[in-house]
């Protein structure tokens, strides 16, 4: 066990160094794709914090991504903030939104919460379209041109790292165990003295900040956002599929799911653009039917591995 740990640590260190030096010699396409993988790791990992651990499935997590994107974009265009600070503000805005939404919605039990979150996303999209003066409405919002893909590559990489490391810290703590008791048996958790509502709210807050930052970074990188580009249900669905595929409630499941599905998606997209949505649907069905715990969840149970895989 000790030896394999060393191997894993060494492999991670090598991967980290490779990712740090990659932009120096990588192609534009390669850097951009890797940046997107970082974003998906951050999104999937964040969704895992609330839905993988507490079992409260959020069908509207892209709302935080979109809120972060608009906050960041508006601060850059209207207030002239620098993009890194605007990105942090995007995360903060998403966090505040999570508290406002979570306070009433996390009192709902599982399925009702999922539906409420679906509604939240639609409401935000409508609001953004309505307040044209601030958001540009349906015309979208253009940011001043700037080539910042490489710095954003690093910041997004740090975000993915922070979400993954944060997940590790949470899962190995008693706070994380308490979050899991909500998924396992919320009534027993309450009866054992666990303030489940408060725990859910904190998890929800933590799960919103990452997507908020990712949204603001993506807005800056792409230079243009509009309601349909930052509030699509497809982003939420992708996060969910990535986590389910990799293994919900684990540390590396979201990372694995994000990398695997991104690569599959790119390959299929390039070769068979029309079957792409079909493939995603097929993966969802296959995962749910054949391995509801995902790849790592399956290995974890079979080989009695810790959740920290």
């Amino acid at each position: 066990m000790k030896g394999s740990r060393g191997v894993v640590a060494a492999a991670l260190a090598v991967a980290l160094v490779a990712l740090v030096v990659y932009p120096v010699f990588g192609t534009g396409y390669g850097v951009r794709s890797t940046l997107q993988v970082f974003m998906w790791i951050a999104l999937a990992g964040s969704w895992n914090l609330i839905s993988g651990l507490t079992g409260y499935v959020s069908f509207g997590h892209v709302a935080f991504y979109g809120a972060g994107a608009y906050t960041g974009a508006i601060l850059v265009t209207s207030a002239g903030w620098s993009w890194p600070v605007a990105a942090l503000a995007g995360g903060a805005a998403a966090g505040v939104l999570a508290l406002l939404i979570g306070y009433p919605c996390l009192r709902l039990k599982g399925p009702y919460f999922a539906i409420a979150m679906l509604g939240l996303n639609e409401v935000l999209r409508a609001l953004v379209s309505y307040f044209e003066g601030l958001t540009g409405g349906g015309n979208g919002l253009s940011l001043p041109t700037a080539d910042v893909t490489r710095p954003i590559y690093y910041v997004m990489g740090l975000l993915a790292l922070a979400v993954t490391a944060g997940t590790y810290l949470i899962i190995t703590s008693r706070f994380g165990l308490r979050l899991m008791t909500i998924r396992e048996d919320e009534i027993a958790a309450e009866a054992m003295g666990i303030d489940t509502f408060h725990h859910k709210l904190v998890a929800f807050l933590l799960s919103a900040v990452g997507p908020g930052i990712a949204g603001a970074l993506t807005a800056r990188d792409q230079g243009y956002i509009e309601p349909i580009s930052v509030f699509p249900l497809a982003i939420t669905v992708t996060m969910i599929v990535m986590v389910l595929f990799g293994g919900k409630g684990t540390v590396w499941g979201p990372v694995m799911g994000a990398v695997a599905l991104f690569v599959i998606q790119e390959l299929v997209w390039a070769h068979y653009p029309y079957v792409h949505p079909l493939l995603f649907g097929a993966i969802i069905v296959a995962v749910v039917l054949l391995m509801p715990r995902g790849v790592l969840g399956l290995l974890q149970l079979k080989y009695r591995l810790p959740r920290t895989i």
């Binding site: 008693r174 165990l177 899991m180 009866a191 054992m192 003295g193």
Partner: protein
Amino acid sequence: MTVLVVEGLRKSFGGVIAVSGVSFALEAGRIHGLIGPNGSGKTTLFNCITGLERRDAGRVVFKGERIDHLKPYQIANRGVGRTFQVIRVFPELTALENLLVVTRGPRAAAERRGRELLEFVKLERLAGEYAGNLSYGQQKLVEFVRVLMTDPTLILLDEPAAGVNRTLLNDLLAAVTRLRDEGRTILLVEHDMKVVMGLCETVFVLDHGEMIAEGPPGLIQADERVIEAYFGR
């Protein structure tokens, strides 16, 4: 000294009156039994005391403080622990994690205490096993020691003997006695009359949501209303 006072407690579900104006008091450092036929309101009474069900009327006072408006976790944190009739361990947490998760304060001390308690119920070898993989009896023991991790003043046990084999049962009963000797108060629902009569110092009898008798086991066994409730006229 009384630890818990219940006054005029009432709870109905739709047209079904589960508990209808029940009053009783629990004495500190004693083992109390709660018996009654199926559907007499025992579990509902437990749920109302622990806040899992909201009472319709009446008062629940624990150590001088009204707790009937509190949330379950607040009641638990004031020192009321319970087990469930249908086991409610956290299946995808290990046996040890099931105990750790209810603790606060230094983790190392909590782990030590958790391992001690697992050893006490002879489950130390299974500390790292997912609770869901344990047998029914083992899960029952995990649930039992999980309550102890919270260091409760009052412990409500819902059918602790059901489905537990004889040897294990004797250990369990010895443990309950020891908890009493430590000064804790116990209220247990049990269908096994041998257990109730051998262990309890005071027995309460519920029938159709009403408290029909209360007293030492010897008197309860001879009480006509109790015999009638159980065996009919």
